[in-house]
């Protein structure tokens, strides 16, 4: 256990503390913990070391670039051929595309939140993870592009029959709006703008500090984006305040956009599916997936990317407990979703349970449950796996597979459930209180065609590709936060063991 001292690191303290060698570099007794548990990089060499590694790259990042690029091209090919072969006339054909979009959205929108949330808690172990979390903001830019076809595929809220009567479908929007695309797109653009603002604000000091060491495109970009930052107290205060305010607003907006996405693209597509648990369930699974993506990326960078001497095992050890909590919360919400409908026993509720869980999509449902709970849970419960650092990333692999299956089960299934006719999605306002019997008997599961598979792979590929591009431009470590951490942390002796001593000035 880390010993915690509420010390005031006043003047004179800092440079002694900066010089504390990484536990990975000394040969002292480490007590209960291995030498790689806490790594506190040397402050004076941090910028030059990270910049050098960033410019050198690694074989891992090259492979991520190649594989991500190939999968992205496959996705584009799949999308174009799907568009050419079926067009946008029937929403039933676009369920897998929406699943792929929602998967990318889930990861890229939730991951930056981890940086804000862990910063709020003022935990020290977060420091090597925050920039990786923020870099997912770059991936989120593609959400705006991917959202456009999804909005086009979304059926109109109101349609006119040949007899001139207006038919409507249930949604969270005004029924007089023909399509809520404007508001949906505005929310998505706002979310991307907010996450990019957080990234810019956080990366500004790092870009200012490393601009003199960069060449070519990066030097020019850093000079422009750093905007004359030189680290006065006022600038640090505004940065700290800005990150806190934007982090809070981002949390409020991301939950809202997740609510819109899951309501409009899943719940509203199955008439009669009225579920207050699904939006928070979707939020929890998004947070779980976002954290899993961060831990997997951080582990890959540490293990194969050349950043071992900047990242210890402690971030994985601590974050794995958060991941365990989210995994349990996910399962709790899944059970709450099930038990409410199972106990309610309305015809439509039983039909939805049979469709999404126990008949049509039973295979994907159980596979998802295994990948998001039954496999990661024992890994994350194991103290050994958590402490060694590999437990959380291993669990993250399974969680991400489960996340993709979840999106297929919820979004692709929802888009395939109801035909766009009077007895499907739409009803006359005069029939508002008499639902047509839907999903009785539940239709079979819809399987992806080749183009759908390409698009699903493209969803994975675009995340990898843009993540690599972002890491090409920005350092994967938040340099100023790492330096701040080195001021407040040191590994010291307590009785016969070596432990981490922390200063908490606030």
């Amino acid at each position: 256990m880390a010993s915690e001292a509420h010390a005031q690191p006043g003047p004179g303290h800092d440079h002694d503390a900066h010089g504390v060698a990484s536990p990975g570099h000394d040969s002292h007794e480490h007590g209960h913990f291995g030498p790689e548990m806490w790594v506190i990089p040397e402050r004076s060499e941090l910028v030059s070391g990270v910049v050098q590694r960033q410019q050198e790259g690694s074989s891992l990042l090259r492979w991520v670039f190649i594989v991500g690029g190939i999968l992205t091209i496959l996705g584009i090919v799949g999308f174009v051929l799907k568009l050419v072969t079926v067009g946008f006339s029937d929403h039933n054909d676009w369920g897998f595309y929406v699943a792929a979009f929602a998967f990318v959205f889930t990861l890229s929108a939730s991951a930056p939140l981890a940086a804000c949330a862990f910063r709020f808690t003022k935990s020290h172990w977060r420091r090597p993870l925050t920039r990786i979390a923020e870099v997912f903001s770059v991936v989120s830019i593609v959400n705006i592009l991917l959202f456009i076809p999804a909005l086009i595929a979304l059926p109109e809220i109101g349609v006119m029959t040949e007899s001139g009567e207006e038919m409507v479908r249930r949604s969270i929007w005004f029924q007089e709006l023909s399509n809520p695309s404007g508001w949906l797109m505005a929310s998505m653009i706002g979310l991307v703008f907010c996450s990019l603002s957080i990234l810019w604000l956080s990366a500004m000091p790092d870009m200012a500090q490393s601009r003199s060491m960069m060449t070519g495109f990066r030097a020019s970009l850093y000079a422009r984006l750093a905007g004359g930052w030189y680290g006065t107290k006022r600038q640090w205060q505004i940065q700290k305040g800005g990150l806190a305010i934007l982090g809070g607003l981002y949390f409020m907006l991301v939950v809202f956009v997740q609510f819109l996405i899951v309501s409009d693209f899943a719940m509203a597509m199955i008439p009669g599916w009225k579920d207050s648990i699904l939006p928070p369930f979707y939020t929890v699974i998004s947070f779980q997936g976002g954290l899993a993506a961060i831990l997997l990326t951080a582990y890959a960078l540490r293990r194969w990317g050349g950043y071992r001497e900047y990242m210890g095992q402690a971030p994985f050890w601590a974050a794995s407990k958060v991941l365990l909590g989210l995994t349990l919360l996910h399962t709790y919400h899944l059970f709450a979703f099930f038990i409410t409908y199972w106990y309610g026993r309305l015809e439509v509720e039983q039909a939805i349970l049979n469709y999404l869980m126990f008949k049509s999509y039973i295979g994907i449902f159980w596979a998802q449950l295994f990948f998001t709970f039954f496999i990661p849970f024992p890994i994350l419960v194991s103290n050994h796996a958590r402490r060694e650092g590999w437990g959380a990333p291993l669990a993250a692999v399974f969680i991400l597979i489960g996340l993709m299956l979840f999106h297929i089960r919820i979004f692709a299934a929802a888009f395939a459930a109801a035909p766009a006719d009077l007895h499907g999605l739409y009803y006359l306002p005069s029939d508002a209180f008499s639902f047509p019997a839907l999903l009785l008997p539940p239709p079979g599961a819809t399987f992806p065609d080749l183009w759908d598979i390409f698009m699903l792979l493209g969803g994975v590929g675009i995340v990898l590709f843009l993540l690599r591009v972002a890491l090409m431009v920005l350092p994967p470590l938040c340099l100023w936060e790492m330096k701040e951490g080195s001021m407040y942390q040191r590994v010291d002796t307590l009785i016969r063991g070596r432990y981490l001593v922390l200063a908490k000035p606030e």
Binding site: S44, W183, S212, K233, W236
Partner: protein, 186 residues
């Protein structure tokens, strides 16, 4: 009149700003930099005339620096109010312009308006916060002024704007406090 007043203020401010010399002391440790700050204060240089430049945020007051009041927290509230007002206007005017009774609910129903209003509030707050950050940080600054790259390696900078007759004394104070280097813009 207002424009003349602003121009007058600028005319008054410009010569004063340009008349001052800038001195940058580079320190290898925080203790020396803080000592130099204390000595500058003792020498009668106002604390608004010097700034510590650091590569990471230091704890509040650890260098003996002045408080820096700001109004960043006001920006999100202003943005949120504007966004909320826009959301209420758009939704209310739409419903009044195209009245459609749905499910027996009143034409002006708050629950469906809440979604658009919430979105407007959030977007307004975010936009104004970013504007506030740029404005309150005094960014962008295209002329970096005196700087030393060693600050990025953990050294601390102490940048002083001093009257010409004081600049020699400032250099002496910095050297006495243990500066590893002192630069001036002269």
């Amino acid at each position: 009149m207002a424009m003349q007043g602003i121009m007058g203020m600028l005319r008054n401010a410009m010569p004063a700003a340009s008349a001052k010399h800038t001195v940058l002391g580079v320190f290898s440790d925080a203790e020396s930099a803080a000592t130099a700050g204390d000595e500058l204060k003792s020498a009668g240089i106002p604390d608004t005339d010097y700034d510590f430049l650091t590569d990471s945020p230091y704890p509040e007051g650890s260098l003996g620096e002045r408080d820096e009041p700001h109004r960043l927290y006001l920006y999100p509230f202003i943005g949120a109010l504007l966004g909320l007002s826009s959301g209420i206007m758009i939704t209310a005017m739409t419903q009044v312009a195209y009245p459609l009774v749905t499910g027996g609910k009143p034409v002006l129903s708050l629950p469906p308006m809440a979604i658009v209003c919430y979105e407007g509030t959030m977007l307004g707050a975010i936009l104004f916060t970013v504007i506030g950050i740029v404005f309150e940080s005094r960014l962008p600054k295209f002329d970096l002024g005196l700087y030393d790259n060693r600050i990025t390696q953990g050294f601390l900078g102490l940048r002083v704007k001093a009257e010409p007759e004081q600049s020699r004394e400032v250099v002496q104070i910095m050297n006495a406090a243990g500066a590893v280097d002192v630069k001036t813009d002269q």
